[in-house]
């Protein structure tokens, strides 16, 4: 059974009096343990699709099965719970809370999960990602790559089934981008499903499969030939 199964997903926005069809019927399956890169020009619907995958938005029609459970019918509280437990987000602009140190940013999902031992678990994940020395730095005191690694630590802390990464290397220089991609590959090696939006072909080449969006539907999807395998750091899945 697929981890993610989208069936006939459409999304229509009402902008003033004009209806905008962002998604026009998406069928997509992602198996557990896959690494999928979603590509496509701006306005192709890939971000809308990502929001729906991340349960931040609801489709206008169609159904979304996550681990066999139809989540399009759930209420807000149930969706928040699934976002908290099963999905980790990594954003282009990191989206860390600016006024709290790295370790508390990592703890954040555990607060909403009501989990115990938050501090020690956060420290363990930061150590995994080589950020132990940076735990008590504010985001503004960290480099871009470090900030993105803190964001990945935050995504990992609840041991989610999948990570949704929205252009995770978009704000990083080439060397740092490689570092982050290597980290994602390493996590994928440990069985975490990753869905990543990107513009760049050589970033997409790090995935196992790519899906190309155009004008609200999937134009093409196929496995990545000649996958770029980076030198992956040692990580243990939390």
């Amino acid at each position: 059974m697929a981890l993610i199964e989208l069936r006939g997903i459409t999304k229509t926005y009402q902008m003033d009096s004009v209806e905008v069809q962002a998604l026009r019927g998406i069928d997509l399956q992602v198996a557990a343990g896959e690494f999928v890169a979603i590509m496509g020009p701006s306005g192709s619907g890939k971000s809308t699709c990502m929001n729906i995958l991340g349960l931040l938005d609801r489709p206008t029609s169609g159904s979304y099965l996550l681990d066999g459970q139809d989540v399009s019918a759930l209420d807000d509280v149930a969706l928040a719970r699934i976002r908290n437990r099963r999905i980790g987000f990594v954003f282009q602009s990191f989206n860390l809370l600016p006024r709290v140190p790295a370790i508390e940013n990592v703890e954040l999902p555990l607060i909403y999960a009501g989990a115990p031992d938050r501090r020690s678990r956060a420290r363990a994940v930061l150590e995994q990602l080589g950020l132990a020395a940076r735990a008590y730095h504010l985001p503004t005191q960290l480099s871009g790559g470090e900030q993105q690694r803190v964001a990945i630590a935050r995504a990992l802390i609840t041991a989610p089934a999948m990570i949704l990464a929205d252009e995770p290397t978009g704000n990083l220089d080439t060397a740092t981008s490689e570092e982050i991609l290597a980290l994602l590959q390493a996590l994928n090696d440990r069985g975490i499903t990753i869905v990543m939006i990107t513009h760049e072909a050589d970033v997409a080449a790090c995935a196992r499969r790519y899906v190309r969006f155009r004008d609200g539907h999937i134009e093409r999807q196929e496995p990545v030939e000649r996958r770029r395998l980076l030198h992956r750091p040692e990580v243990v899945r939390p």
């Binding site: 929001n51 991340g54 931040l56 938005d57 807000d76 509280v77 928040a80 719970r81 976002r83 908290n84 437990r85 987000f89 954003f91 989206n95 860390l96 809370l97 600016p98 006024r99 709290v100 954040l108 999902p109 607060i111 909403y112 999960a113 009501g114 935050r154 609840t158």
Partner: protein, 406 residues
């Protein structure tokens, strides 16, 4: 999410902008401080009025000659000669709710000691006057039954009279001779100090035996007031009715005719004063509460700014699993922390303020626990009331929009 985390998050968020938090709190601090101080002034006035009226004697009915009724031309109260000592004795003998009865005849007279002289109130009273009007001697003795029987020329002086005649408020002139209307009296006691009620100095008085006043000084056989002390506050009304019936009978007043006397109930007087001070308390407290309201609007204003500023933070929190309820409670707790902290500081200021007022302005103030609880509850209510709208705005934010917010 547990309350402790909420409070931690709130304190941190407020700590990130301390000056702003303090300025916002200032509205509540001033509001609560003003409420506590103003209410303490009102309650202090109320307590001191009650206490002063009580010091005139408790459970007291005062019977005065003359009618307080409406219509026609009437002489002032106390000008008629209808009440006598016999009336007082009849009340003592026949009405069982009565604990003690005192009769008084008083008039102003010139009093001389050596080269000093003063015009003061000379009251002829019966022995029970001490008990009924809470009037006791501190130095020397009061007069006795024998003095009354023999119309003895003995006098008990109030402190003000002592000061006027002997030049020293603390003097103890027992045994001295004074002249009242040129009649020589021996001073046998000095009264306990009572202080002034408004412009009425209650220590400016000389007490002498009633019989002496009636026969030797003023040549009358009526009294100007009968004071009736009732056993319990509950029996005041029934005692009043029975005294009235008794005296109407004794004075042969037909049903339907006006009485030739008036009975005043001390409880009514206290109730009137308390009503006045209660109104004053409400007025002062109400005016102060307006400033608390303004403080609440300040909280709302800052919370709305804060929600806008932290839109992105709200988006992040929602993305990692915060529910609407989590966000709502986060901002509500923040508003509550502001208003409650301000409330407690204001409370301390208010208590200090009322202390200062009583010390330097000389007004009596009373800080009651109830007013403190009320002020803090009110502050919390202000926090919730003015915090709920910004918190709802925050909770309702769409996470997608919030995450993109710059």
């Amino acid at each position: 999410m547990r309350l402790r985390s909420s409070v931690q998050i709130a304190v941190r968020a407020l700590g990130a902008n301390k000056l702003r938090a303090i300025l916002t709190m200032l509205g509540v601090i001033i509001g609560v401080g003003a409420v506590v101080t103003m209410v303490s002034i009102g309650q202090g006035a109320r307590a001191s009025v009650s206490q002063q009226v009580q010091s005139l004697g408790s459970n007291l009915l005062t019977v005065l000659p003359g009618s307080a009724g409406q219509g026609g031309i009437r002489q002032g109260l106390g000008s008629l000669r209808t009440l006598t000592l016999d009336d007082a004795e009849a009340v003592t003998a026949e009405i069982q709710q009565v604990e003690a009865v005192a009769a008084e005849f008083s008039r102003n007279a010139q009093v001389v000691h050596g080269s000093e002289n003063v015009n003061t109130n000379v009251s002829g009273v019966t022995l029970q006057f001490q008990e009924v009007r809470n009037t006791f001697v501190t130095d020397g003795t009061f007069f006795t039954d024998a003095d009354l029987a023999s119309r003895a020329r003995v006098a008990v002086l109030g402190r003000t009279v002592v000061e006027d005649l002997f030049g020293d408020r603390a003097a103890v002139p027992i045994g001295s001779t004074i002249k009242i209307k040129r009649v020589a009296f021996t001073v046998i006691g000095v009264l306990e100090e009572k202080g002034a009620t408004g412009f009425n100095d209650r220590d400016d008085v000389i007490l002498i035996p009633l019989s002496t006043a009636q026969r030797r000084l003023f040549g009358v056989d009526h009294v100007r007031a009968i004071y009736v002390k009732v056993r319990t506050p509950e029996e005041m009304d029934s005692a009043l009715e029975e005294v009235e019936t008794l005296l109407r009978g004794r004075h042969r007043i037909e049903p339907g005719e006006d009485s030739d006397f008036t009975i005043r109930n001390q409880a009514d007087i206290i109730a009137t004063f308390q009503g006045v001070t209660q109104t004053m308390t409400l007025l002062l407290g109400g005016i102060a509460a307006v400033s608390l309201l303004v403080g609440g609007i300040g909280i709302m204003n800052i919370m709305l700014v804060s929600v806008t500023e932290r839109t992105r933070e709200i988006g992040i929190r929602k993305a990692v699993g915060a529910t609407r309820g989590d966000i709502l409670s986060q901002f509500l707790v923040e508003a509550l922390v502001l208003s409650l902290t301000g409330g407690f500081i204001g409370l301390l200021l208010g208590v200090g303020g009322s202390e200062l007022i009583s010390r330097f302005a000389g007004w009596s103030t009373l800080v009651s626990p109830a007013s403190l609880v009320l002020a803090v509850t009110f502050a919390a209510a202000v926090g919730i009331f003015f915090g709920i709208y910004p918190a709802q705005r925050a909770a309702a934010l769409d996470p997608i929009v919030a995450l993109r917010y710059e």
